[in-house]
């Protein structure tokens, strides 16, 4: 049995419990909501989407004086499944290395101000580096169980906090004709994020998220250094325009 099955079971129980709490509140929230990270249910709309970018800072003790700040395109779209279930799809793209994820999220209001979501995403990443001195490619699979709590202020500022853990399911890499792979799943680390979403310009809304990523391996650094059993801290900032 995968090590995270038990955790998922408890998350599911928690979701069902929250769903019961939320039933009485639902009628108060039947409206369109412009938010992408905030755990709003999708009562009226089928889709929500955002486009933006993220900036990741590489760890100084590993990448040394080459302190990189890696920009990455960020496209996310949500698809309504039921009032309380939605599909969360996320593409992070740097062309030479990219990450796609999709997952099912349970989303529900707790009361007038607080909202909750829990879900699980599956991610696939792949990278190519074929320039002078490099003939490398790598790819892998991740699993991301996560929970979010949202707080809606009286003046339309949406604050959400998200806790996510990741499990590395599969990794393969090749340099020239040398290939390695690992199918051993392991706990990879955790990410805590805080996001603010608010009106920006002409009915457009803006999302700003700060993430503290604490991982053994992070896909954006696959070409830079070897995965260690030390968790490495990566701060990441994400800005997105909600479409």
């Amino acid at each position: 049995m995968p090590p995270f099955t038990g955790k998922l079971f408890f998350i599911l129980l928690f979701c069902l419990d929250i769903a019961q709490m939320a039933t009485a509140q639902d009628t108060a929230f039947y409206a369109k909501h412009t938010a992408i990270l905030f755990p709003y249910p999708m009562y009226k709309e089928k889709w929500r989407a955002s486009i933006g970018f993220s900036l990741l800072t590489t760890p100084e003790d590993i990448t040394e004086e080459t302190r990189l700040r890696i920009p990455c395109g960020d496209f996310r779209f949500l698809r309504r499944i039921t009032d309380n279930f939605q599909s969360d799809n996320h593409i992070m793209f740097q062309f030479l290395q990219n990450h796609l994820s999709t997952g099912l999220h349970f989303v529900a209001p707790i009361n007038k101000y607080f909202y909750f979501s829990a879900g699980d995403d599956i991610g696939y990443w792949f990278g190519y580096l074929k320039i002078s001195g490099f003939n490398s490619q790598a790819s892998g699979w991740f699993d991301y169980p996560n929970v979010s709590l949202g707080y809606k202020t009286r003046n339309d500022l949406l604050i959400s906090v998200k806790a996510q853990v990741s499990f590395n399911l599969y990794y393969q890499a090749a340099n020239g004709d040398n290939k390695i792979h690992s199918g051993t799943a392991y706990y990879n680390g955790e990410t805590f994020s805080i996001a603010l979403e608010q009106p920006f310009y002409r009915k457009r809304h803006l999302a700003l998220a700060l993430s503290a990523i604490n991982n053994y391996f992070y896909w954006q650094t696959w070409s830079l250094f070897y995965k260690t059993n030390r968790k490495i801290f990566y701060p990441q900032i994400t800005m997105a325009l909600i479409l």
């Binding site: 906090v161 040398n178 390695i180 503290a212 070897y226």
Partner: protein, 424 residues
Amino acid sequence: MKKIIFILLSLCLLFSCQKYEVVMPDTSMWNMYNDPATLPLNPAARAAMEGVYSLSRGNDVFGDLAAVKWSHIIQGSDTIFHVSGFFGKDIAYFICEGKQLNGAILFNGYWRKMVSTETGIIHLTIGAGDGAGLLLDPHPVIDSGKITINGLFGSGQEAPNRVITLSYIRKLNRDPAAFQIAAHRSGGRTSDLLPVSENSVAMILKTPEFGSTGVEVDVRYTKDGVPILYHDNTLNLREIQKSGLVGPIENYTYDQLSTFVRLVHGEKIPTLREALDAVVYQTQLSFVWLDTKYTGSIAPVHVIQQEYIQKAAAIGRTVDIVIGLPERDQFNQFLELPDYINTPSLCELGVTEVEQINANIWAPRFTEGTQNELVADEHLKGRKVYVWTIDEPAFIASFINEGHFDGMLSNFPSCIAYNYYVHQ
């Protein structure tokens, strides 16, 4: 809500401030090993016990096989011997000193996993009936199953309490002289949490314990033209203790650096001469890769290179000291040397440049793969090929098993040693 945000931000800070360090265990507490009746091991016993061992206990922590090998350094009038065991799991190794006591052989030291901060004390014993009798014979002959090493290991400073058993199965599989196990930055990076600093004399003296047979060092010039060992472009807290000095190292004279700057573990920044003195006179290392981190004339380094090749020869040693040429600028500077065609060099550029300067060694980056056909071509031209810098254990194994290289550079020389010596 404020409380929740505060708690989450605190969690973020908690994780982001997590500090990793390796606290080296105190290995001086084993009473039996400290017994005044203990005697040093003879050279024949040390040589005979080198080999590949299988693990029947402790393999959950270290893996199923170990390559056991001795190394030594010279300190003044003393020669200090260490026995190292290189394992296949998590780049684990043990490093011990050895003695004999009442017909048994004792090893006392520590173990470490290079992919984490795990370490601890290890005590090993070969009983008189487990092979010590054979090993202590003046002319030991060892076969499979004739040596059993029993011992205990612990975590951190705790007393050893977990069992490890190693059984001799065969000799080390390859001729150590046929393949160069080169340690990056003289032994490993600061981020590898070793007890000594990268590019220090202390690291040069330490790295044979990790299985290294050669070292790569980073050479720069001080303001007054003294070649020293230092990697980064600037003085920074990754490499040195707080000193008040900032900016490029080339802005400071050697006296200023010597007086005010200490590496992260307290050592002085060594001059190239001090480093080569250590290699030639204190170790058995047979290869030095002088990585050219400076811009400007290579001539001062060339003079020192020639001097130390001759010094090694004068004491009957062969030490290949090569000038590393990582990029076009350094390559062009190398062409300015009057006798560049006969100057030992290692070129990281393409084979065209390698042949243009008659480099002794071609050093392609591992990210281009094994390139066996090109490697074979260079071998036909009498040239060696070293690959750099491989730290991923699976790739180290793959390049040793499938490649035809003459040497390999890594921050984890113990991982190369394991794969090279255990490989059949």
